[in-house]
């Protein structure tokens, strides 16, 4: 009976950070979008209206959660590039489009068209194929 292959540490941490990227990027955008819709469109670009918007933004917990999510996304994206190829990370993180559609559908109740679902499947297939290649093909410091 064959022994189970132990996971490659490089692949494990790469997959973990890409998971962070595809979750926290769309989540941050969703939270910011949701909070800003609650604010409504500005009625005029007067100083008092701008002050109202800034106050709303600073006091909104959802906006701070969104900013926090986007910081996690940016840190994860930067860190993974310290060891993995850009040509690996960039297409792999495209799965974020799928996460955004899923979040929109299940959290916001948005309609996701058949073309979008088909697109998500094609992205998954592309990410799967990219994931079959080694994350790092160059020597690092």
């Amino acid at each position: 009976m064959g022994r189970m292959k132990s996971p490659d540490p490089l692949q494990f941490k790469t997959y973990t950070l890409i998971l962070f990227i595809v979750i926290f990027g769309p989540l941050g955008n969703l939270l910011l979008g949701k909070a800003m819709k609650g604010l409504g469109a500005p009625t005029a670009w007067t100083p008092s209206e701008l002050a109202r918007i800034v106050t709303f933004v600073l006091r909104s917990e959802i906006i701070w959660l969104g900013i926090g999510s986007l910081i996690v996304f940016f840190v994860a994206y930067s860190l993974v590039l310290s060891w993995a190829d850009y040509s690996y990370v960039q297409p792999a993180s495209a799965f974020a489009y799928g996460t955004a559609a899923l979040l929109g559908h299940f959290v916001l109740g948005e309609t996701v068209s058949m073309v979008q679902w088909a697109g998500i499947i094609v992205i998954c297939l592309g990410v799967f194929i990219v994931g079959r290649t080694p994350p790092r093909t160059t020597e690092r410091n």
Binding site: S87, A94, L125, V127, V130, N141
Partner: protein, 127 residues
């Protein structure tokens, strides 16, 4: 027409080039192995001292404003497939600028991602 074409090229090339510069920065810093907050702040400080970071941030800012300009004059359904091409530009940039080995398998995956991203964004438009 020429201005629109320049803006398209800026969205596709400057955006991806900006990310490639950031990748170059992270490569210069070397593989991060310590993920404690204090160590990560140190990494951020070192990244800010690398010139590629500032070039990258400048290029990404340029791409962002170019995208706004393109969206002001062109329909989203026309812009999206062009911006999805940035994945192909990214793979090419990784090969030329960062000397990564982009195999045929990886190219095939990148091509599918380009098609899939276009379908997701256009599907939203046509919904």
């Amino acid at each position: 027409m020429i201005i629109e074409l320049v803006c398209f090229l800026l969205v596709m090339i400057a955006g991806t080039a900006g990310e490639l510069c950031m990748a170059r920065t992270m490569r210069t810093i070397g593989e991060v192995t310590d993920f404690r907050p204090r160590a990560l702040i140190g990494v951020a400080g070192r990244a800010l001292s690398v010139a590629w970071t500032w070039i990258g941030l400048g290029l990404m800012t340029l791409a962002f404003f170019a995208l706004l300009a393109v969206l002001a004059v062109e329909s989203v359904s026309f812009v999206v497939p062009v911006t999805a091409l940035s994945y192909a530009v990214g793979a090419l940039g990784g090969r030329v600028f960062l000397h990564e080995r982009v195999t045929r398998t990886r190219w095939a995956g990148v091509l599918l991602v380009c098609i899939g991203v276009s379908m997701v964004l256009l599907g939203k438009r046509w919904g």
